[in-house]
Amino acid sequence: MGLFSKRSVSDLGEKKKDMPEGLWVKCPSCGESLYESALAKNLRVCTQCGHHFTMSSGERIAALVDEGTFEEIDANLDSVNALGFKDYLAKVKAYQVKTGLKEAVVTGRARIDGTPVVLAIMDFRFLGASMGSVVGEKITRAIETATREKCSVIIFSASGGARMHEGILSLMQMAKTCGALARHGEAKLPYISVLTHPTTGGVTASFATVGDLILAEPKCMIGFAGPRVVKETTHSDLPPGFQTAEFMMEHGLVDMIIQRPVMRETLAKLLKYVQQEKKAA
């Protein structure tokens, strides 16, 4: 049994309970001191200014799916050091201990307001949710599962990009995930991509930007190249709000910007438009 196989949603939320009670968190946007438990209860959205804090994959699943419906798949994939990159596996191990996760994405079947979906949730706390072989494989299998079971796939992206410790193998995950999406799309099945803070590099340049529907959380950073690289390459000042969800919206690159508290109902509404009507059995 793997770390997460078939654990229920309430189990996934368990980590929160380990946090010391009464911890205060300062909002990086408005500076307000927030009570940790109140912040957690408010889906990690600042109660004062609406700033969206980073959310763990477990918290996200709990906030999205019909209670008790999440069933994790492919929980037992482990990274290997294919290139012999110095200290790579020690690093992976350290993040496993730190986050309680096995890798940077959690995938599984669930229902959202009754509609069956396959979910993939990237967790930025795990090595910047960089995409190596395991992340690419799990996302590919999630898409393939959705194709087989004729349902929608929803991917919540957050990533620093391809994981350089796995070199070219990480790069190839971009083609692999997009290949699975090509087949899912040919079967006329819906893919909803949700961009969260931050989504960059090889993840932006693969599955994250080819959704039938693309949603983004407010103010999240979305880009191909890092802002520092863009600034250094072009020797020019970056326009205000460059590479934010709002910038993407202004340039016509996302369908909607959705506040976290209404993410679930928005997905439920959209799914009802795109999910194919089930033929009578």
Binding site: M164, A205, S206, F224
Partner: protein
Amino acid sequence: MKQVLEFEKPLVKAREELEELRRKQALKNTSKVTLAIADLEKKLAELQEETYANLSPWQRVQIARHIQRPYMLDYARLCFDEFVELHGDRHIGDDNAMPGGFATLNGQRVMLIGQQKGRDTKENLLRNFGSAHPEGYRKALRLMRMAEKFGLPVICMIDTPGAFPGIGAEERNIAEAIAFNLLEMMKIRTPMVSVVIGEGGSGGALGIGVTDRVIMLENAYYSVISPEGCAAILWKHRQHAPEAAQALKLSAPDLMELGIIDHIVPEPHGGAHHDHHAVAASLKSALVSALAELTPLGSEELLQKRYEKFRAYGKFTEGE
């Protein structure tokens, strides 16, 4: 100006000394000079062997970036009977970093697409150092789809430090332009071959690289990140690029071992820039045989194999 790479400097020095001796010999031939020449020729041959037989990944990266290295349009001229360039993505503009058009390879009609660098400032302004904008990737896809429509195989030549990281590129969704190509190339019903001729820089390279066969020139590199970029992040300084190049396993022999590429095209001693015609002849025959293998396959089989090829990439273990 001929660009001399750092590790080739001892060779250049030895060659100059040899020329000097030969000039002396032409003026006045003595047995001493003849002996010295024979000695130096032997030493030079040994030095060449030593330098070129065991090129480090970082040395290969330098060769891959050599400004006298043949570029896409050089191969268009040297490997093909004809190249008819077509322009534009039909929306925003034409990207000169990504030329493409009809070409004839050994009598066979094909679509040729690739990244093109410049050799001087003026050319690089035009070609943007081989870094394409979204328009380039969208033009490439337009041409691939046209090739599918008219039954032409597609040949993509990869030579880019990366897709362009600029403000306009982000505004026009460079990430999506690449991602969409990755997705759509999986569905193009015509044989497709790509060849990394110089730099295979990350997503910008892969954006025209989802093909049935992936070929690489001996000294080209293909990597998820530039050695300098990797060094800056993991070693905290760009000067560790040689170690990063080693660690990334970005050279053709390493990638062959990892199963990422299908064939290595040999280069002349010291790199393709030493003999454009020789490397073009080798590349041409590699392209001709790749197309000969792919052309008999039906489009269903082609797509299935292309899917399986990219589906298989990745190394991990799976527990119970």
